[in-house]
């Protein structure tokens, strides 16, 4: 309720360009049973993600990247600090934020079309604009012929595409993606990366993309946040000055390699405890 009203009060950002995300000293600690010291999942993070920016977070498992995403999504309360999206302080999930999970999480009793429209239905926002967007996105994602099929009848890649469409049908200002392609094979994964780029170019929004695949992060992002574990920390942010639109040719570009190996170096050094 509350978030819906703040949503309408927001000064109109240019349509489809997304909102700024600001993290101020956000941290997360978990109490452990047995009265021991609380475990730090994420040490204090300050980060500003610009409107319409594509930011990836890479790092080994346990670096707190999923924790950070869940806090931005409003699914997990932070222990300290605040997250703001536009001028909304995040305290709960909001329809202006779309999320894609590692698993497609399509509901098996709904057709692809019904699955894709479910967030709008739940938010009582099914209108002609939403229906038209669903049509358009299903078309773009090559799922138009499968809209009346059930998820189990689709391949893993198609299911994940449908879940991306589902996150986009509400035309969110912010798109959060938690290792969305990690369960897919390499070819499907690269295909979907290009598809995501097309969708994002079609209607830009602020994207936070989590992955443990460095090449994927470099290929997609404007900036890559490098995270390290024990305790989870955002160590460094690397600019990716590669021109857009990015095409598969980029994957063999020396500049691309250069950035990938630099980020790999950052993670590797940190793992050994040395300073980059």
């Amino acid at each position: 309720m509350k978030s819906a009203t703040t949503g309408t009060q927001t000064p109109a950002s240019p349509a489809g360009v997304g909102r700024e995300i600001i993290l101020e000293s956000v941290s997360k600690t978990y109490a452990v049973k047995g009265g021991k010291e609380p475990v730090t999942a994420l040490t204090s993070v300050d980060l500003t993600i610009a409107r319409g920016e594509f930011l990836s977070l890479v790092g080994p498992s346990g670096c707190g990247k999923s924790t950070m995403l869940n806090i931005i999504a409003g699914l997990l309360p932070s222990s300290t600090g605040t997250v703001r999206i536009g001028d909304r302080a995040v305290s709960e999930p909001d329809p202006s934020t779309g999320i894609v999970f590692q698993k497609a999480t399509l509901l098996r009793w709904l057709t692809i079309e019904d699955n894709v429209l479910l967030p709008c239905k739940v938010g009582r926002r099914v209108d002609t604009a939403a229906l038209r967007r669903a049509d358009h996105l299903l078309e773009l994602a090559g799922l138009a012929d499968f809209r009346h099929r059930y998820p189990r009848e689709l391949s893993g890649g198609m299911q994940q595409r449908a879940s991306i469409v589902r996150a986009l049908v509400g035309d969110p200002e912010v798109l959060l993606m938690d290792e969305p392609f990690s369960a897919l094979d390499e070819f499907t994964r690269e295909g979907l990366q290009d598809e995501l780029m097309r969708l994002w170019t079609d209607r830009p929004k602020t994207v936070v993309f989590i992955t443990h695949n460095i090449a994927e992060a470099v290929y997609l992002s404007d900036r890559v946040g490098v995270m390290t574990s024990r305790p989870g920390t955002l160590k460094e942010i690397v600019d990716i000055p590669l021109a857009r639109p990015r095409t598969p040719r980029l994957r063999t570009d020396p500049a691309f390699y250069e950035l990938v190996s630099r980020i790999r170096g950052l993670i590797g050094h940190q793992e050994q405890g040395a300073h980059a």
Partner: protein
């Protein structure tokens, strides 16, 4: 009791000589590709078994190997069955029992769903009441039938009550499982789109529960029939259970057999209807797991 039965399994298990080669799990799969038996085999074999049993029955009764009071002749049973079904003597009783069972089943299903939903949603109520529900289930509820007859009379209501009291339980346990055993990621997704508790019920928990519920309906239906007939045995003025009591009083074993055959047919037909309904419903209502 335990002292005498205890050692038996230890000695009994290694005894069969064929044991080393018979375990099904050991047989290499590649050796015998599992081919689906042909339709002729699947229909013909059960029919052949039925005919052999009928012939055996005929043989036993024709040669008076067993007293007619225990096993009636086939032709007399057939006559009783014909009088009951074709001449229509039993139609009223069949519809009475059927009605008791169906109403008991319906009440049981609704009660099971409501209780299941309550226990699934309120851990406190589950902690408070579930032990009693389990205790009640362990208790032979048919034993309450005489009391119910005293309380509710000789009409249909005590039979419906017993049928419902048996039918609710499988539905309730299936509902609890269906409502609570939710995929964690799907639940997280519903949270992420700000679904209310009601919407979560409507779009996630209820459809998820459907795939658990249908198998429980099979069971509930059969125990509802059991409950209705058992209550009729205690005290009634019509119904298939009443016919059983009458036939027993007159030593009419053939009628008892015919009645039992009718009951078996009822159970099979009703279960088939449930299976059919399940098949006919779209995936949106009964999702495949």
């Amino acid at each position: 009791m335990s002292a005498t039965t205890g050692p038996q399994p230890d000695t009994a298990i290694p005894l069969p000589d064929a044991a080393p080669e018979s375990p099904k799990g050991r047989r290499p799969r590649g050796d015998r590709p599992e081919r689906k038996p042909s339709l002729a085999l699947r229909a013909g074999l059960p029919a052949a078994v039925g005919i052999v049993l009928l012939l055996l029955w005929q043989f036993v009764s024709a040669n008076h190997l067993v007293s007619d009071l225990l096993i009636p002749p086939v032709d007399k049973t057939w006559d009783a069955l014909r009088a009951g079904l074709v001449d229509g003597d039993w139609w009223g009783d069949i519809s009475t029992t059927l009605l008791e069972m169906v109403i008991g089943f319906a009440i049981g299903v609704v009660a099971g769903l409501l209780l299941g939903a309550l226990f699934a949603h309120s851990p406190i109520s589950r902690i408070a009441f579930y032990p009693y529900v389990i205790a009640l289930q362990a208790f032979p509820k048919i034993a309450v039938a005489p009391l119910l007859v005293v309380a509710l009379g000789y009409g249909m209501s005590p039979k419906i009550a017993v049928a419902a009291s048996l039918a609710y339980f499988p539905v309730m346990t299936a509902a609890i499982a269906g409502f609570t055993e939710i995929d964690a990621d799907e639940h997280n997704f519903m949270r992420s789109i700000n679904a209310s508790r009601w919407q979560e019920m409507r779009y996630l928990r209820l459809p998820n529960a459907m795939s658990y519920l249908f198998p429980s309906f099979d069971v509930a239906l059969i125990v509802a029939l059991l409950g209705a007939v058992a209550a009729e045995l205690v005290g009634s003025q019509n119904g298939l259970g009443y016919i059983l009591v009458q036939a027993q009083a007159m030593g009419d074993t053939a009628a008892i057999f015919a009645d039992l055959i009718v009951l078996a047919l009822l159970g099979v037909v009703l279960q088939a209807i449930i299976v059919l309904v399940r098949r006919l419903l779209p995936q949106s209502i009964v999702p495949r797991r």
